[in-house]
Amino acid sequence: MSDYEPRIEQHIPRLRRYARALTGERAAADDLVQDTLERAWTKLRLWRPGSDLRAWLFTVMHNVYVNQVRARASQPPRAHDDEALNIPDRARQTDMLEVRDLDIVLSALPEEQREVLLLVALEQLTYEETARALGIPIGTVMSRLSRARERLRRLMVGMPEAAGLRVIK
């Protein structure tokens, strides 16, 4: 049993990276990581040896995160509706500004789109792993990924949101 410990430890930096991008705040991100590790240690017996420990840890983090989001439901939600996504048009500025702006528009995505985008684009999980981690069908992964990317792209260039979303084949 003792050899599980270093294996979980080695995933902490990546769990922190994902949590930081997901929550947008350092303290909230580390709270999420801490709760995730706590849960992971008590649920370790549910992890199937031989399967991908890192993907399983993302599953645990997803469940903890969903609970935290639900617990915050009484508070004003992060921008979810399209109304709140009307970020003023602006001219393209420097790369530095663009980096910071992506940070801001990322937080404007609905939670479920942000999770998919970050697991795929930042954590480089495969679509199958992402589907398993979030407990959703792979088709849902693809449609959320598509919406997230297109939404970000349009917000970044100050374009209005597309009226209709493209059909996923």
């Binding site: 922190r16 990276r17 930081r20 706590e38 370790l44 990317r149 792209r153």
Partner: protein, 250 residues
Amino acid sequence: MSKLIVSESDLHAFVDGALPVARRAEVETYLAGHPEDAERVAAYRQQNATLHSLYDPVLDETVPERIAARPARGASLLRYAAVVGWIALGGVIGWHLQAYNTGVPSEPARWARQAAIAHVTYSPEVRHPVEVPAEQETHLVNWLSKRLGTPVKVPHLGTIGYSLVGGRLLPSDSGPVAQFMYQDAKGQRLTLYLRTNRDDTRETAFRFAQENNVGVFYWIDRNLGYALSGEVDKQELLRVATTVYRQLNP
């Protein structure tokens, strides 16, 4: 040349480098003839790169102490063992937990200390060891449940040689706490300290702390934190703590 069919999913898989080489070449050909899609693909790739430049620095940060080295994690691992065989593994767990009991004092470790202090304060009392004696157990339970704001139960330890002396209410930095006192035939006293746990989803394994001559086994079980203190050897204390735990979780 036949018309290429490229789906939205193909474009994303292209962005994420998830396509087989042959399919990848086909998508490249398709993009050459579809500038709007090519623009989107370029933007999505830029998003991937920007996300990495924003968040990869987190990988090089020093992991905060509270995440990197919390004694609770070692203890939780042992909880797994404990589920498999509480009694058989009891001695081993007791031994291991002391090894894990290093590092920054956690909140439970702080109240374990308060429990030890309460133990040394009241257990030597000859005339007034408790506020409410065991003869008024129903009243004791109702009173402490009311003051702690949650139903409390008094474990009965007669089968392992300890009888209830009674209990009292104590102040603490987190509000009222309860203390039950037990003693064996030789007058050796143990105290069980109960405090409410604000985050009622947590559970922990048994942990052990030593304050001078007083040993404390403490754990969190849903909405209550427990600490069993006594000036007895660790094996004996663990035997009693295990009995308490099993009575509270039948």
